[in-house]
Amino acid sequence: MAEITASDIDKILREKLASLQTNVETREFGQVIQIGDGIARVNGLKSAMAGELLEFVAHDGTTVYGLAQNLEEDEVGAVLLGDYTLIKENDEVHTTGRVVEVPCGKSLLGRVVNPLGIPLDGKGPIEAEGYRPVEFRAPGVIERQPVHEPVQTGLIAIDAMIPIGRGQRELIIGDRQTGKTSIGIDTIINQKGKGMICIYVAIGQKASTVATVVEALESHGALDYTIIVSAPASTSAPLQYIAPMAGAAMGEYFMYNGDDGQPASATNPGGHVLCVYDDLSKQAVAYRQMSLTLRRPPGREAYPGDVFYLHSRLLERAVKLNDKNGAGSLTALPIIETQGGDVSAYIPTNVISITDGQIFLQQDLFMQGQRPAVNVGISVSRVGGSAQIKAMKQVAGTLRLDLAAYRELQAFSQFGSDLDKATQQQLSRGARMTELLKQGRFAAMDVEDQVVAIFAGDQGFLDGMPVSDTLRFRDDLVQYMHTVRKDLKDKIATEKQLTDQIKEELLEAITTFKQSFIIAKK
């Protein structure tokens, strides 16, 4: 750490005094008439705007910022973003003419910040390249283009059957302890070297959980391209409320600007961003608390009437911009926690209807050892094949349907044992393919490896083997392709499709590998 000398301090103080504005200040002002639960009622402020940043001046001169929410005839209802215990009745409030903004830029990468952009990781102050408003209009139809590039999660079950595209909004939904966060974190880790900026927004979580996430990202070298916005359960409801929007604002900076920091255009491509909002149910709860204390009328499950709009305007900011606007993208992975698997509750149905698909995680699958515990039957991606490389489409085209048929047969077969050969074959294949989709944490696979694994299963290479050998076979095959047949793996990566020649070579390679696998096993 650099040493601080008396002359440094003297210099900084002189600079500060030189830049001091001593002109007469004309400002609109009001007074706090009531305060409690982080909510203030302020009289005056006739020209306050909805969502405007308000300055509350405490008795000791400390400034606490607030957000104008309810604009009523004779008063303004505001939520406080800082330490509201400092503010008392009759304290002064000023309008600022600004909305809430957060610092943005590359200097935030690798940092843990609160929803106002203040660092929480003890790594020193952040020199922001710019500021962006927390609330920002989502791009219109003309500025967009259809989603067509994949976001590789590294998880076979998702990349093969529920593909996510850059600019898509894919919901991750499930009960507690079903691996929702793990999917988000694995996806972030898998973006290494893919030119994607990742933003992980932790809302209403335990601070220790956030620390674990930071640790995981750091140990896998993913922190360098990730910003963590942390609003743990101990922060005030307003901060939890703005956290996902702050994360989106930080992400938008990279999408709307090129690498040089200048606005993105046809010649200056914008960046690609992945935002994980973990989780929006807690944000909705924070918003409900705010709304109830602001005396807004409660609706279903006591949520305010505009909770749908809260989530829709956030998720509409996920976009794939057209080439004229730099072709940047912001992919959103919102997470929703259900209670007892009830997806028909208010917030889950809202977010399901807003997003372009959902990944359902089920507790019973998780307990059976199917991890990620994705229920591929009811999980869906509405962007579909356009977010997959052709090779994946070729091998995984019918996988969803095959697995659906397998599950149906599996349920039916429990009633009797007299099954014809074709059915037995289908059950055997289904069991192995289901096994093939299992993946541990931090064990992301390249898309080429996924293609090879599914190809092997689809071509019946797993059929004669015990189900328990499936995972070892898959992992060894991937290893084999990385070492012995790297040429073939590279060919798939370059061509991005399985030509007849590649298919032939692949069949030959897998056959050779299988022989050695069986010999090694014996």
Binding site: K16, Q21, F29, G30, G61
Partner: protein, 189 residues
């Protein structure tokens, strides 16, 4: 049960009109305005007083005594008026009535009411200077409500229509304090 806001607005208008009539008949329009402003401040600053005045379980005589005690330097008619408001459980409307009253006075007499706070009382020369300066800005005759506030240390504060021109020494010193205390040589806040 919450009342209709339009009805409340009409009620506020009625209170303000009565006050204006009272002021005109006693030739105390501006004095009422100044006293209402002070009353508003006192009621705002003391939530306990607000509760006592609006509390039905406290007998009327006690409430009247409290009012006389708190506002003993104010106009007797005005105190009666505020007690009447309290009896009708409308004391919470006092700040809005005061605001509406000022609005009516400004509209009716085509003047602008300015609150001027200084450390020492204004002399005639300064009073004229202030009036002339703001008359040019507002395009109206200026009526000053003068306040003495030692906290300002120097200079003055002028308030009108919810805006404030702040040129007091205390604010400038406060600004310097805030600027210097935000000096950072590294580390997080």
């Amino acid at each position: 049960m919450p009342r209709n806001r339009l009805l409340i607005k009409k009620e506020i208008d009625a209170y303000a009109e009565v006050l204006l009539e009272m002021g005109e008949s006693n030739d105390s329009v501006y004095s009422i305005s100044a006293q209402l402003e002070e009353m508003k401040k006192v009621v705002n600053m003391h939530p306990g007083l607000r509760e006592v005045l609006a509390n039905d379980s406290i007998d009327e005589n006690t409430r009247v005594t409290v009012m006389h005690e708190v506002f003993k330097e104010f106009d007797v008619e005005l105190i009666k008026f505020v007690i009447f408001m309290a009896e009708r459980r409308d004391i919470a409307l006092l700040p809005r009535v005061a605001e509406r009253y000022d609005q009516m006075v400004q509209d009716k007499f085509d003047v602008a009411i300015l609150d001027v706070a200084t450390v020492i009382p204004l002399d005639d020369e300064l009073r004229e200077k202030i009036k002339n300066k703001f008359a040019a800005q507002f395009g109206k005759e200026i009526v000053l409500r003068e306040h003495v506030d030692a906290w300002l240390l120097g200079g003055m504060n002028v308030r009108a229509n919810g805006r404030r021109v702040d040129c007091c020494t205390a604010t400038r010193i406060e600004r310097i304090r805030a600027e210097l205390s935000s000096v950072s040589t590294g580390g997080e806040r």
